[in-house]
Assembly symmetry: C2
Homo-oligomer: 145 residues x 2
């Protein structure tokens, strides 16, 4: 039975939860998932290179490049070439970007909390624990190819 298959339940649950948040940052603010992630990172830091940006968002270089391009065109971030390595970009958030981040973050966090608060404290603890363990186990298997 597909409905009992763990990978299916994980994917469906994760997608359903995600959809609630996408409704906020995508439909209401026109931000894609990747843009939202970059903005999240840059809003909370002075500046960061494209390289670190990729590492810290689980996005590959193509995704970073394209999402950053969209954010640039919207005036939410800016970039300059760092002196040390001219292959990279050093990105930072504009005031406009920070303002939008704060607005979006408030609403996204509300939605997310609305879901989590419908769970018991014990269920939340269990989810937290299970998720952390799953991430480690997944990384471990993926590392061994």
């Amino acid at each position: 039975m597909l409905q009992d298959f763990f990978p299916y339940r994980l994917a469906v649950t994760s997608a359903a939860f995600s959809r609630l948040l996408v409704d906020v940052y995508q439909r209401r603010f026109g931000l894609g998932r990747d843009e939202w992630r970059l903005l999240y990172l840059l809003a909370n830091v002075e500046a960061e290179t494209s390289l670190d940006l990729g590492r810290n968002t689980s996005l590959d270089k193509v995704q970073v490049s394209r999402a950053a391009d969209r954010l640039l065109r919207k005036g939410l971030i800016e970039r300059r070439t760092p002196e040390l390595d001219r292959r990279l970009w050093l990105y930072s958030c504009t005031p406009k970007g920070r303002a939008m981040f704060n607005e979006v973050h408030t609403l996204v966090d509300q939605r997310s909390e609305a879901v989590l608060q419908r769970m018991t404290r014990e269920d939340r603890t269990a989810l937290e624990r299970g998720l952390t363990a799953l991430r480690q186990a997944t990384e471990s298997v993926a590392a061994g190819l």
Copy 2:
């Protein structure tokens, strides 16, 4: 910090886990995610209408239509018009489809179990519990729009 944001961790973990399985059914068998879901359902049942197929796979009608189309062209499933309602299709799995399902399922299940077996029994129980609670909470919030 993005890395501590629950929605981010859920999405990243789920995607990483998923990728391990996609490597199997996509790269090695040329099946898309939607095709794999339909095949999973149809391999374990006599026949099912397009309508039920959608309900039981969390796919919308467009996804069902297109994935079914691909499976038909590959000869893995077949369909006929049910007498009761000629708007629908009644799908069923061909022997070739069942054979491929069994092969893929074995490998996918191995991968999935390889991950889960690296977790302690307690972590697995916690994950199971947390995931079920999260799904219910998510559905509950989504239902209230």
